[in-house]
Amino acid sequence: MKKRIASVTLAAALFTSLLAGCGGTGSSSNSVNASSTGASASGSGTVSAASASAVDTDVENREYKDVNITIYTRMDTSTKKGQWFTQMLDDFQKEYPGITVENIMTPTEADYLDAEAVMMSDPSSMPNIFEEYGGSRVLDYIQAGNIVSMQPYFDADQKWTSTFNNTGWGLADFSDYGIEGYYGVPQNGYFVTLYYNEDLLKQGGVDPASIKSWDDLMDACKTLKSAGIQPFEMGEKDNYRFGHLHTVLNYKTYGCDIAKKLGNDEVSYDGEEETAIYQMMIDAYEEGYLGTNLLGMDDGQEREMFNTGKTAFLFMGSWYASECEDGTHELYNNKKIHALAFPYVNEKYADNDMGGGNECYYVANTGNEDEIAASVLLLKYMTSVEQVNKLLKEYPEISCVNGTVEMNNYLLNEVMDIMQNSKEMRGDIENYDTQQHMINTVRNALQGIPTGMTAEEVGKNIIDTSKQYEG
């Protein structure tokens, strides 16, 4: 019997092996030499950027010998951007032979974020450079002293700093949380718009110029539906889809300030304001405008339906316009797709939009000065005007660095024209909450809409779940 218990104990013990490797060793001690790297962590979580004088910012003229760094990104080598990235890394290593870069790529967002959480849970597994979207996730890393402040490097190289525009600084700025200085290098931005298929709208008798407000859009959907044309096919299997719709509807109804109000509990997720937003989504869903198989379709399939002329509208960020550049997209090649400003709900907030910085790169504070310097050098190389020009030629996108080449993507140019009229932009509404779980909690609850939940139930679900996660 003893033997049996022992063997069963061992077998069952394997259940728990997964977690224990992630603990790291330091519970309260921080082994990283913060002063030499530009960030210092304290138990209270306040972080201050070190002065430029304490950090060797001359990364270009440093001697590198057998320095190995890792970069963890969402790049995909099947895209033109991924190909540019791989080439850029090769060029960098040729120019700096003392540095070897290990390139880890996970294109799918959910898998990327999960793997990032695993890597960032232990000092020995942290990648030297990784891609993130700012907000409370990165805040946790900064508060633990795991991110290098880029401020000394920006201060020391004004020529490089001046090449950045204002699109992406929000991802590197944590001043709202009492943390000074920039902690990341923004790479690209995005802007959420409404794309439409010119032929399908014409066929359904809808004039795109008439779509200004949410009600106009609902009327257009009704007309299209009665003509046998499916307006949207949202891929809510990837729950960021309703997450984005919820965000943009909030900004277009209450203005971008609503993000802060929700974040500091001035407005509640089960309050009147938010319930009205859920109800708008429910009404559109129940009419069949948003899709016919929302939970059975992911965002890739959603795009494919639009690309193949099966749906009239696509609500998505500007990255969609960039992706069209791959040359295989018939509707795009024939200039049959165009962009519209996302319709306002309250006209007062017609110029409030979802957008801003999209991808930002952060340098992990590994405590190794050579690795940190090499990582900063790689980011400076990657965001140099020369490299950005190469990228924009191949893959036009909203860049955080001012390129000097003309972009020939007509659709992206339309999006950028709309963006010019925007007065205020914000990213995912849940990221303004100090509770890091909020993005998952809200997106998860919004998935309840296609399962038949009422607006009140969605709000209650968010609040009930939040209570379970209150620290």
Partner: protein, 292 residues
């Protein structure tokens, strides 16, 4: 002489003991400690002792009980569908019927495909728009096409069935090992005594395969409690956690919600539950029969 032999034995066992301590015992102890702490899963972030509050949070979480219910569905499916199916398949492949070799290979194909491939394949097949379900609905001119993987309860049972489909071949091997181990003399004795067909199956074959049923039961229950991969590949535990399992919760609480302490508490609960159920099964239902 005895002392030298004992030292030799210990030296031979040492690598195994060390590996077990490093990869099994130590992680379990670390997890147990972490389950009493609060930690956001970020390297260098402080950990705080919080007593049993992680366990209280788990036991008062509706998500955990939903996950346990879904694990129960897996266990029910395992005993009601998988066990009889695997045993019948084992009877077929160990019999002398023509084509048993073909069946042996065919039954093993699903388990050789790999969980992710199986999960994706069935996800596409069950898609109401462009999958097998959609096509069938089209053939039968059904107006509504069920979206099985998006409907709570249905989605869990769909994953349970796919799981049984995948693992039937693997469990067939367990039962087949038991069946071929029954001595030929016993079969001959049965034949002489006139015990054949169903009678032989229930009074001779099944009792003599008791150990195999025990192995199946323990692996089925512990496997169902910690089922993760097939659910993750097909539904990621969604929509709205409707198809979640404790193991998925363990992962999401830890790496998405950054609640490593709570995640560890789930791991410890699963460990203890797996232990208790295994010991109870071994000492009651599968207690060695001294008459055999």
């Amino acid at each position: 002489m005895y002392k030298r032999r004992r030292t030799g034995s210990l030296l031979i066992l040492l690598p195994g003991i060390l590996l077990t301590i490093i990869f099994v015992i130590y992680p379990v102890i670390r997890t147990a400690i972490l389950s009493f702490e609060s930690w956001n899963g970020v390297a260098n972030a402080p950990k705080h002792f919080v007593g049993i509050s992680n366990y209280i949070s788990v036991f008062t979480s509706p998500k955990f009980w939903l996950g346990m219910r879904n694990s129960l569905f897996f266990i029910i499916g395992g005993f009601v569908i998988l066990m009889p199916a695997s045993f019948l398949m084992a009877l077929l492949v160990t019999s002398k019927v023509k084509g048993s070799g073909f069946f042996r290979t065919t039954f093993l194909i699903p388990v050789m495909l790999g969980t992710t491939a199986v999960g994706l394949m069935w996800t596409f097949m069950l898609n109401p728009q462009f999958g097998m379900v959609g096509k069938l609905a089209e053939i039968f001119r059904s107006e509504t096409v069920p979206n099985i993987l998006a409907t709570p309860v249905q989605n869990t049972w769909a994953v349970v069935l796919v799981n049984e489909w995948m693992y039937a071949g693997y469990n067939m091997l367990i039962f087949a090992a038991g069946l071929v181990a029954i001595p030929e003399d016993i079969h001959d004795a049965c034949r002489i005594d006139g015990c054949t067909g169903i009678k032989k199956l229930f009074y001779v074959t099944i009792p003599l395969c008791k150990n195999m049923f025990m192995v199946f039961s323990v692996t089925c229950i512990t496997g169902c409690l910690k089922v993760f991969d097939i659910v993750w590949a097909m539904t990621r535990g969604g929509p709205m956690d409707s198809s979640t399992t404790p193991a998925i919760l363990l992962y999401t609480e830890g790496f998405q919600f950054k609640l490593m302490g709570r995640s560890s508490a789930i791991a410890m609960i699963l460990l203890i539950l797996g232990l208790v159920i295994s010991v109870v099964l071994n000492s009651t239902i599968f207690k060695p029969d001294e008459n055999l």
